[in-house]
Symmetry: D2
Subunit: 360 residues, 4 copies
């Protein structure tokens, strides 16, 4: 039971990859909001499959249907429910290998937890496809945040060994960062982007996959948002970020690097900038004691390589309880990171909005 989230903006997600539909209920949006449906489509398309085919512009369009909470072009203030129907699901391949638990996937723990009754096709409820509803909700949240001038930008920080050079995270260039969302491949600088694409292409050719890191910056966050302890800004972001399939690490500000600093380096010293309290550096990623300090929120999310690969892997046949070799056929996405960028953005937007409402 883990499909509900939030205090002031409440989400309930449902669906399986190869079932009839996936969907979401978003409760807590203010009434009278003119939902930008085009923006929602745009966000869903950023996440849609086909992003790693750089030679082609083919993109599956993710069509959503709003079932409730939207009337005469505006939100009603009552629960907004949306579904995205699943189309063209080919399930035969999954039938064949259903007893072979795929390494790196949730097949085995899912089998144990659900006693073999869960929908195994395409990862079922564990599928990355379940992040589409999150993107839908995030698009609504972003729209509300923008009314308060708060922007959220995620981009690829690294793919495998290829790492983007560091940018100024205390005073980031918002134009540079927000421009990323317009790109086919969501990295900041063109030259690194090419190298990253190369690494992904290489993994595809090897029937293998590659992981990466997404960096996120949230600008114009007011100070004083978040709570000490269990609802700290970090705790709240972490809960939702770690619910995204494939995430294995999360760090704020200088993160793991800060452990190697001295306090005198890591402490972001205060000064007055046009009579506003600011810090010169941003090693704490805009958060102190779980509460925002008025600097940009900065965090990095580590994604493991896609579990589905074409290479042969040793595994166990659950039915026969025997060791065997699995080779997954078909076309695999060799890197989930580009498509994960809008998902992380959505998650960040939802948390920010939820905590900002809490602070009113």
């Amino acid at each position: 039971m883990g499909m509900t989230w939030g205090k002031n903006i409440k989400l309930s997600i449902f669906g399986e990859s190869h079932g009839k539909a996936i969907g979401i209920i978003v409760d807590g949006l203010p009434p009278g909001m003119e939902l930008n449906l085009d923006l929602i489509s745009e966000e869903l398309n950023r996440r849609a499959p086909g992003k790693n085919d750089f030679s082609t512009t083919r993109k599956e369009s993710e069509k959503f249907e709003i079932l409730s909470g939207f009337f005469a072009g505006r939100t009603t203030g009552t629960p907004l429910a949306a579904v995205i129907y699943n189309e063209n699901q080919q399930s035969r391949e999954y039938e064949k290998i259903r007893h072979l638990i795929r390494p790196g996937h949730a097949d085995y723990p899912g089998y144990v937890k659900y006693q073999g009754f869960n929908d195994y096709r395409g990862g079922g409820h564990f599928s990355g496809r379940l992040t589409a509803p999150l993107v839908f909700a995030g698009a609504c949240a972003k729209q509300l945040l923008l009314e308060e001038n708060i922007w959220v930008a995620s981009y690829i920080k690294s793919i495998g060994e290829i790492e983007e050079r560091d940018i100024d995270l205390a005073y980031p260039d918002s134009e540079l960062l927000l421009h990323v969302r317009k790109k086919e491949f969501p990295a900041i600088f063109a030259e690194t982007a090419e190298m990253m694409k190369g690494a992904i292409q290489k993994a595809r050719e090897d029937q293998d996959s590659v992981g990466g890191v997404v960096e996120t910056v949230v600008g114009n966050v007011p100070p004083g948002i978040g709570d000490p302890f269990f609802n700290s800004m970090e705790s709240s972001l972490a809960q939702i970020i770690f619910s995204i399939p494939g995430v294995k690490g999360l760090e704020f500000g200088s993160g793991f690097d800060v452990t190697r600093m001295k306090g005198s380096q890591a402490n972001d010293c205060y000064y007055l900038k046009k009579n506003e309290i600011k810090t010169r550096s941003n090693h704490n990623g805009g958060i102190l004691g779980g509460i925002t300090n008025g600097m940009p929120l900065v965090f990095r999310t580590a994604f493991k390589p896609t579990a589905s690969i074409g290479k042969a892997q040793s595994t166990v046949n659950l039915e026969k309880m025997s060791e065997t070799v699995l080779q997954i056929k078909g076309r695999h996405d060799p890197c989930i990171v580009p498509r994960a960028v809008p998902v992380v953005e959505a998650a960040a937007a939802l948390v920010l909005l939820d905590l900002i409402i809490d602070n009113r």
Copy 2:
């Protein structure tokens, strides 16, 4: 509002560093449990101040008093409330610098959030002291986990640049790891421990501080625990881990390193070990799709250097809204990491127990 946590084991924490008392209510413990009060004391003492004075054995004893939920030597099943009284609080020093927001501390965001009314003495509600109640609750949780043969071991993985060598995290040596809790300085190997102590001693001499990483292993976790999405094992652990003051990063299994692997390396392949399904490696840290897979749970927590340092730091005087220099007097703990070890253990134990109950 962030002081309650949990679904089946519910915690409510309260207190300020220099107030009358700090405490906790633990709701959801089973009735009839013979609480091991000595174990609780032992755990509290592992977290108590004075741990970095390796020349002396002085340790402040943390005395707790149980107010309810405990009758005739056993838990009653109703809320267990415990308080730890604050003693010898010297508040004068804090009075003097109260308008100078300490870099790296929650002073400024706390001031904004609480409009200047929060107790500023010793960090108030943001103090690391608030982790003592967590350790109390964690000691109860550990006792219950041990009944199911589940053990939790945390230890220092690194202090500043000094890093412990890697151990086998797929098939860890439980004796080696559990022995750490008996040590004055909670690191695995003596030689690295000495170097780490040296780094801390050096920071103290420099009136500075140093950060580090705590590694945690949980053994004998049954498969099938946790939920997809918002209550995933990673999400649940992350929420509580990031509520610990000073935490800036968290990674599971191979964490950020896994982003640099190929899928064929990162996927932990299955095999049969005495007819049980196991994986050969443990890059996923015992969790797939948010659910345990029967391998040891492994995660690392990044702590920033203690914010309180003796060195002069530039800051702002909130009252005068002018820039100034702050020099914090008194004796500072140059490294919070050794004392954080039992706190991380407690947090892990509480999450495990909460999710295991959920799965019954």
Copy 3:
């Protein structure tokens, strides 16, 4: 924001009376359950409009579609989502009177709360139609309860002044009570049923409406279910029962009558019945200290007369802020009580199941 409910069985409801669809997500059902879809349809039909046309058997069939959580004829253990599409919604009449707030309806408070943006057609989100998803979830819950031999029976206790005679609520006749669900008009005894129908018919002829009381008995409830204080059995039932549109009162056991008793009458004395502890009377309705005592759970729910009546009523035109007279055209259901019977049953089943799971 009030559309989510539950701890172990979690519900999220959405929809408006005249929108595209209403629906529900039920999270927490065990995997592998063969849902009895016919039973679900049967329950939905008990609640469907047309129940007060005793001369005809016309009943709108409530068709539901399961979108997720159901695979190969069984629940998967992941969220079960179901929608019921709205058909033949005639909205023109509502357009005409949209500025006239209907007395007894939620029009005015809804207008204030949602700043005029809520869907006003047919009560929108406030419509009794929103109880259909609850009935869907309740049907699933009942199926699980029956596996533990627990039955839930609701029936009409009174319509207006017509009151059914009292039955033995300490040792109720389960056959008699469970037979009610087979009846077109859910009252226990035929003669009273006729009088009740007459009262409803009279109200219809007068273009008026009439209220009533639903009595509910739950049999074979084990002792020890529920919690002291905020999650008491009464609190938990009350929260969901008072969410049903039109409910204005709730009492357990002898309820308001018990206030006129002496303690020596009201205290249900214990005795041994085949070595089981039972009470001779059941004035406490099977609950003491918020926890079940092994006697049948008994409660009564008071429904006000349907707010929609044909008679002229004085009201206010919100747009013009002037007093006026409202006459609502069309065919009104003069009594919601018969259709509310399966809703109350569903609510009771859901609470029981949620608390029973909690107690495992």
Copy 4:
């Protein structure tokens, strides 16, 4: 597990009647609030034992100690924790009868739920004494409500058969109602009060007890507060009201009486009063569709007779599993209703505040 409550104002209650202390954590109070400690004491004293001794003014003073969240005379905004120590607990009598389950008490369900480990002395965790922390929290809530001119008044509506005459609940006389809190016996009119006291005195002489009804009116509630469905105003009030020991019924507005009305009577018709929308009658108790309509909130709470009586009662000896007769010695409070009045007021204030914050 039922000791936490609330969304924006969060309560966690702990304690047993004869343990060291009872207490509460209140999270969510705004920072900077000058708590009126005298008012808190006054409220606690209204609930304290000794209220039915009309011949004497003996009242146990309920001393509370604030442990956190209160600094320099004001709330800090962090959790406010308060304890009330238990004094002079005589436990010997309870030892003697511990195996005899007292009829009407939670002894038996508590024994089953907690497997015999709960503190049985004086009702333990089930004791009415646990409402004192609620009164503490309610006193804080009332203070905040008064800042918005919202008042809460509860008073005795009936004791046994003695019923107070009805007052105008659409336009109640606030002075009359608020004056009740100054009285030793919280009934509106002196003549009825005398009769009620007589009924209580009679019950005492008979070694018996008597129940009653508390009526509550909340004035100046703005329209638009509450939510449809699960967090409706009725649902929210009901959850907390039914957690008060001894409550067996709750009705809003005309409650059970409204079931005997026609819609044309029950519908509260709108009119304009000084350009404000009001209703002429208040059969709906100020709530429509779960949301306040700007009329006074009105509800009645039914309390059963005190379970502790001196009369002999048949019961079962749990240890011997044999039938027996129980005669409880000592001085019993023959009517809990007068002392319950401030508890109901507190509960109402807490719900109002929680939902008002939600609506901001």
